[in-house]
């Protein structure tokens, strides 16, 4: 039986738009349904899996970093990656290499890789369907 595979293209930088969280919810729902996923991170979205993201304290609220529990997109990406591995599903996260260089954003978490927009074309061509979550 042919497996279902979806490709998602993300464009928004971390900590900027609710589109990121919504897209992560969609990817999570796809994994829940046993669907293999590809993610092509374009432009600012290459910052989503940056390993150097660090949670911070909130002096206004009087909370330390642990109490503040600031959400980090790299943890969301890692959670989705781990969920896919646990379920035996494909999870191919590709960062646009040119976008990485432009932003000096090298250093992503394990389980992500560098690529080019041609990878997005190949992903879409090999997928059941593709959703482009463009910037507003």
């Amino acid at each position: 039986m042919t497996r279902t595979r979806l490709t998602f293209l993300l464009m928004d930088a971390p900590f900027e738009s609710s589109r990121t969280a919504t897209a992560m919810r969609l990817i999570d729902a796809a994994l829940d349904r046993g669907i293999d996923v590809n993610i092509f991170a374009y432009e600012g979205a290459v910052g989503l899996p940056l390993a150097a993201q660090t949670a911070h304290a909130n002096a206004v609220h009087g909370r330390d970093a642990t109490e503040e529990d600031h959400p980090l997109p790299r943890e969301w990406v890692a959670a989705l990656r781990d969920k896919a591995v646990e379920r035996g599903l494909a999870f191919d996260w590709v960062n646009c290499g040119l976008c990485v260089e432009e932003r000096g954003a090298a250093g992503s978490i394990e389980g992500t890789r560098r690529g080019t927009p041609a990878d997005f074309w190949a992903m879409a061509a090999a997928s059941t369907n593709t959703l482009v979550v463009a910037t507003a």
């Binding site: 609710s18 589109r19 919504t22 919810r25 969609l26 669907i35 369907n129 959703l131 507003a136």
Partner: protein, 113 residues
Amino acid sequence: MERAEMKRLMIVETRDPIATPDAAWGTGLLIEARQAGTACTLMLAENGTLGARAGASPSWLVAAADAGIEILADAFALAERGIPAEQIATGIRSAPLALIVDRLAAGDPVLWR
């Protein structure tokens, strides 16, 4: 090249329809597709759900419902914004966001706005 038949079309509108008049473009496209025989769905998500409030729906959203467009609103986004089910406008239904994944998996075209 053979022209593929499009049976269903979904547009996801994430922007506040009051603050973003351009959000009307999507319903215009859906109404034309519906008139051509395509089943159409408008999924309101994120701030797009602000247009789902009874009394706050823009005229073009009402027109879309009247034209037979299925209009859904992400239940999660509605809850985030404190919009209870009884305040949703007639013709709009609450639905899980994951419906988008189901449509994608079925091969339906989905446009994100």
